[in-house]
């Protein structure tokens, strides 16, 4: 390891440490609105974006289906825990089994999506997952027995997280989950499975001829990332107490993509960095007359500028500032494999 790489590593650690300390002491520093609304939102949006970045950074798969999986978990939890007075099945389950089943359903859906998409690469993968996302949105919009256009409201939150009694607790739980997700994703990337996945990202044909089942690995990675997205969906439902098809519409799908791209598509830290920027822009745009109505125009322009100027997002800028060795642009990776079908049969 050369000295510039080492200096970047320590700069990363210092920045990451400051970030975590600030996050832990946030309730002492910031107002309740900031903590309970903005920072909590930042953390769970970061979890969803992290599931996208995990797939893109370690698997070379840019998935637009993450928001739909987050929605599947959210809708499942909503259907299971509500008890009358809203749309959906109103099954009135206890919280704990409902969470487990909601996560299971989301992972199952992710597995099916992954099975269908994992033989496609690059831009095809992006398109297929986008289609899944839109279909999931239309499904919840049209099928009135599980949601319908207006969605599910009044979804209960576990008592110990009640916002009125304990305004900070949901924030701390979300923070803990976000840190766990980060650690888990870093860990998985270092397991033999994660290393194989990175090998597949770089050269699926070679990995296949070495005897690895390329499609199976990509499928499992997709299901695992679906699980992470689903965890984000549970947190979202607790935070918002309702979920509607518009929550997982094309705009939401693009919002999470924007977060991941603003942060940087190839490092997990980018997820929360991008989410922070997104939430801040969202918050401050509300106060500016001209912009508040046209929030998505602003987001679109920010997104466009980032893609044009720094395709590696803010993390890419950060790495340039901390003078690490130049990394290859992830944008170029998909190009080579873009439309090929490198997996031999069997």
């Amino acid at each position: 390891m050369n000295s510039s790489a080492r200096s970047r590593l320590s700069a990363d650690r210092i920045a990451g440490g400051i970030f975590v300390v600030l996050a832990v002491f946030a309730p002492l520093i910031f107002t309740e609105y900031w903590v309970a609304t903005l920072l909590t939102q930042m953390l769970f949006l970061g979890v969803v974006a992290a599931s996208l970045i995990f797939l893109s950074a370690y698997g070379g798969m840019v998935s637009l289906a993450q928001v739909s999986l987050y929605g599947v978990a959210g809708f499942a939890l909503g259907n299971l825990t509500t008890n009358g007075n809203t749309k959906g099945l109103n099954l009135g389950w206890a919280e704990a089994p409902a969470i487990v089943v909601a996560l299971l359903i989301a992972v199952l859906v992710a597995f099916v999506f992954g099975a269908l998409a994992s033989r496609s690469y690059g831009i095809y993968f992006l398109m297929i997952t986008l289609v899944f996302s839109v279909i999931a949105n239309l499904f919840f919009g049209q099928v009135t027995s599980v949601s319908g256009f207006g969605g599910i409201s009044g979804i209960p939150i576990p008592d110990f997280l009640s916002r009125t009694a304990h305004p900070d607790r949901l924030y701390f739980v979300t923070l803990a989950v976000a840190l766990l997700v980060y650690a888990l994703l870093r860990y998985v990337a270092r397991t033999p499975f994660g290393l194989t996945l990175q090998g597949i990202r770089d050269d699926p044909v070679r990995m296949s001829s070495l005897g690895y089942n390329v499609t199976l690995h990509r499928m499992l990675a997709f299901a695992f990332a679906g699980f992470i997205a689903a965890v984000g969906g549970i947190l979202f439902v607790w935070w918002n107490a309702q979920i509607a098809p518009s929550t997982i519409g094309l705009n939401a799908t693009i919002d999470v993509l924007v977060i991941a791209v603003i942060g940087g598509l190839y490092r997990l830290e980018g997820a929360w960095l991008g989410a922070l920027v997104f939430v801040l822009i969202n918050n401050y745009a509300q106060d500016v007359d001209l912009v508040s109505e046209r929030f998505h125009t602003l987001i679109g322009i920010v997104f466009l500028v980032i893609v044009l100027v720094s395709p590696n997002g803010l993390i890419g800028l950060w790495e340039r500032i901390t003078a690490g060795p130049r990394r290859e642009l992830p944008m170029d990776i998909t190009q080579e494999r873009g439309s090929a079908e490198p997996t031999p049969a069997g």
């Binding site: 986008l130 094309l250 693009i254 322009i301 893609v307």
Partner: protein
Amino acid sequence: MTGFAAYGSLRHVGRAVLLALVVFPVIWVLFIASGTSFGPAIDDPKDFLITLLNGLTAAALYFVVASGFTLIFGLMRVVNMAHGAFFLLGGYVALRTQRNMVGGDAGLGLSSAQVSLAQWVVPALAGVAVVAGVGLIMQQLFLRWNQGQDLRQALITIAIAIILADQMLAHYGGVAQDISWPGTFDKFVNLHVEGIQYTMTRLVILGFGLVIGALLWFWLQKTRSGMVIRAGVDDRDMVSAMGINIQLTFAIAFVIGSALAGFGGVIGGSFASLAPGVDANWLLNSLVVVIIGGMGSLGGAAIGSLLLGLTTNFAAAYLPANYTYYSIIFTFVLLAIVLAIRPLGLFGRPA
């Protein structure tokens, strides 16, 4: 490999499931169809034929829009995520032009009796021209210097789609509006089959689909510029090395592809309505059609449109009455079947 035999038998099971998924709906529609509003096709051929015609006309519109998408992708490997926004923009421009041409108070929309043929054709041309221009600007300004970076180009078009959609919401409002067909089209035609009276507008759409398909085929197969495009699809560098101005070819393909989205928007806005969210639906339709048919293949776009049009219409008509809301699942099943058999689509081939 130890699990090879098990894997082989699994394949047979998979194929059997796929076959069942294809065969059962056909049998259902023809002979069973219990609890549906129409009943099986053998008892009620009239409604079956109407559903078939509805499917074909929907397919024609899908084809008009998706052929533009596939043309752009085939040549330039650009996935134009703004295609749905282009569709909506074409529709809105035509709508405004038509309202201005007809004049008077159009608060509740125009009726077809007020609209002459020219008052539909001129707005249509305006919509097509504006979208073709926007497409050209987008390609020259943002995509041209990113050639070959297909993810980056897709992200750029997504950003433009976000901006366009939000600006259209600002300028045209969130209320659903529709372009009025001219009185000439807006009537029923007796088909002299089972006594079916069928709307002429749908037949006009079918005609548009067929004519555009034929023109595209003629252009790509029989003319010099079409030949250059086909050569460019196969080997861009070689075409350029032979002294052909590939950038001009790219620009032409992008203009035509965008224009088709715009024209689709005019037809779609006349046939159904224009509202925020319609862009997402049409991006979905175009994506599904080209994923089924195979990216970049015109024939694939035709087959994909046909499959999608028939699937959506038959699912909506032949599901038991309480379950018609589930018809969206059939779009997914159609996609799943095709992807399971051919990950690159029916007519897709590796680049």
